[in-house]
């Protein structure tokens, strides 16, 4: 059984952003493997280590710098990597078809995708690629077991959690709580440089166009209350009632 795991090269949380015309500009060196995708890489590698999978293929869509995210996935234990290379800003639906094709091309029957991508703040890619593949999707997964061809999972729903099961092939979106991702060791980082990484040019058309981009900052009162606990507490209670009018 082959597992594909999607990784994205996204700005890290501390990256400096600038609104540049109609788009957001990010420092090129502030990118890293999306933390949400690390859970998927870890889950795939653990299934392989348990003898339940034969190969782990890391897939990425994005510009040339995305190779860094794929190298990280390789250092974490993926066997090989494929980059669908494009400089276009593709929305998740526009990525779904090419990602589905790449998943089929490597023969994978389990595709892992981070629950939410930290650049678009989007949770759409996993369900969208599942639709493109005609596979069921288990989203926001916190437990994942594989027995033969049966997948047994637990995932978050609006009011709590739900057990979920299906036969392969399936798409699973990952999140915190699924596992504790390992760190890449130096020898594995070195080894990852020699693992196969294939680049394929990608041409696709975005379905969503960004008309304007801004970095809003919400005006806050910024009032600092000082004094002993009883004084600041009664001052705060009064201000919440009389000034903010929220009590």
């Amino acid at each position: 059984m082959i597992i594909a795991t999607y990784v994205k090269h996204v700005p890290d949380a501390e990256a400096r952003l600038a609104a540049d015309g109609g788009r957001i500009a990010v420092d090129d060196h502030a990118y890293a493997l999306d933390g949400m995708d690390e859970y998927g890489v870890e889950a795939a590698v653990r299934l392989k280590e348990a003898g339940l999978a034969d190969e782990v293929v890391a897939l990425a869509i994005g510009p040339a710098r995305s190779e860094a995210a794929l190298r990280t996935a390789l250092a974490l234990g993926a066997d090989r990597a494929v980059l669908l290379e494009t400089d276009d800003d593709l929305d998740p639906l526009a990525q779904a078809g090419p990602l589905a094709e790449a998943t089929r091309a490597c023969g994978a029957e389990l595709l892992l995708v981070g629950g939410k991508q930290a650049d678009w703040d989007s949770a759409a890619l996993g369900p969208a690629v599942a639709e493109a593949l005609g596979w069921p999707v288990c989203d926001w997964t916190t437990e994942l077991r594989l027995e033969g061809r049966e997948v047994a999972a637990v995932h978050d729903v609006d009011d709590g959690s739900e057990a979920w099961s299906a036969s392969l092939p399936v798409v699973v979106t990952t999140q915190q709580g699924l596992n504790e991702p390992r760190y890449p060791t130096l020898p594995n980082i070195m080894k990852a440089k020699r693992k196969p990484l294939e680049r394929r040019p990608l041409t696709a058309t975005a379905r969503v166009v960004t008309l304007a981009a801004a970095l809003p900052s919400r005006a806050r009162r910024g009032v600092r209350l000082e004094g002993d606990a009883a004084t600041v507490a009664s001052e705060l209670a009064r201000r919440l009632r009389d000034e903010a009018k929220v009590l």
């Binding site: 678009w120 759409a124 989203d139 979920w164 970095l215 600092r224 507490a233």
Partner: protein, 319 residues
């Protein structure tokens, strides 16, 4: 026409349903609501008829707690039959999984987790946040139909319409692919407290509480007194003090209550991304340089374990 997909629980529409009515009315007057589920959903359909001209109840017990695939097929069937130009869903967990599938199935476009949606001529344009909610984007869909998932709390709940609408029942045919996933037992975490996304007041505790017992006593105690939702930071969840479903932030929930208490919370950008749409923000933290103070309306520098009992006494003493 504008189609809105109604979430419901215990025989009543969820609050998000009425927020979708508001969003839909801004797009056009020809609004229909679709309610999925067996007989238990009939009162939901009846309730919606007071708000929109037309309600479709897909009356099938196979749609009680359905898989995303069944739900997608049912919504696609109704949207296709009615010729919906726009389909609105609530961007909760379920809605965010169904909306992309539905958009692809209909051959349309997805505008995801939007704070506002409007028409610009014939185009559908929306405002949404990106980059961990640090940036705001204006986005336009390039192809119809447009599936829009609307951020919970982005619109006010609508008032009933002047004239009641009609309810029609219909059925839907599922395929084998719709039954590939088998949803199992649900574990609800409501515990009798208001749902986090629907709460007017949210009390969030961080590592500054010191331990799980202090969190329970101080944060949960204050929340219960205020009828508020309880939230946690990732650090607290990672430490095992609180369950995952209480986590607010990038990897957790996104909330926008009228009043948000950040207690012993440092304010990492990942956390801020889940709460920075809140109305009034109160922060208590012993580190005066903590980033949470920049995102707050009222800040108190001090040990949350000393300030909180005083605050509870002060709130109780307000007349």
């Amino acid at each position: 026409m504008i189609l809105i997909a109604i979430d419901h629980a215990h025989g009543a529409p969820r609050r998000g349903a009425f927020e979708l009515v508001s969003a839909a009315r801004g797009l056009g007057s020809d609004v229909a609501a679709v309610v999925l589920g067996g007989p238990e959903a009939a009162p939901v359909a009846a309730a919606l008829a007071a708000f929109v001209p037309s309600v479709v109840h897909v009356d099938d017990a196979a749609l009680d707690h359905p898989s995303h695939e069944r739900r997608t097929t049912a919504l696609a069937s109704v949207a296709g039959e009615l010729g919906a130009e726009v389909v609105l869903l609530v961007a909760g967990r379920g809605g965010q999984a169904v909306a992309p599938r539905l958009a692809l199935r209909l051959g349309g476009t997805l505008l995801e987790d939007v704070a506002a949606v409007r028409r610009d001529g014939t185009a559908v344009v929306a405002e949404r946040l990106a980059y961990l909610s640090r940036a705001s984007l204006t986005v336009r869909a390039t192809a119809a139909p447009v599936v829009v998932s609307v951020k919970p709390g982005a619109y006010p709940a609508a008032a009933p319409a002047d004239a009641p609408g009609s309810v029609a029942s219909r059925s839907v045919a599922f395929t084998a692919a719709d039954d590939a996933a088998r949803p199992g037992e649900r574990r609800s975490v409501a515990r009798g407290r208001v749902a986090l996304e629907e709460a007017d007041v949210v009390v969030c505790g961080g590592r500054g509480l010191g331990d799980a017992a202090s969190f329970e006593r101080l944060v949960v105690g204050l929340a219960d007194e205020l009828g508020a939702g309880v939230a946690s930071t990732r650090a607290v969840v990672d430490a095992g003090w609180r369950p995952y479903d209480e986590q607010v932030g990038q990897t957790g929930k996104s909330v926008a209550p009228k009043l948000y208490f950040a207690l012993g919370v440092s304010g990492a950008v990942q956390h801020l991304s889940g709460m920075n749409r809140s109305g009034t923000v109160v922060a208590v933290n012993k580190d005066g340089d903590a980033p949470i103070f920049k995102a707050s309306d009222y800040g108190i520098v001090g040990d949350v374990r000393e300030v909180l009992p005083a605050l509870r006494a002060a709130l109780a003493g307000l007349d």
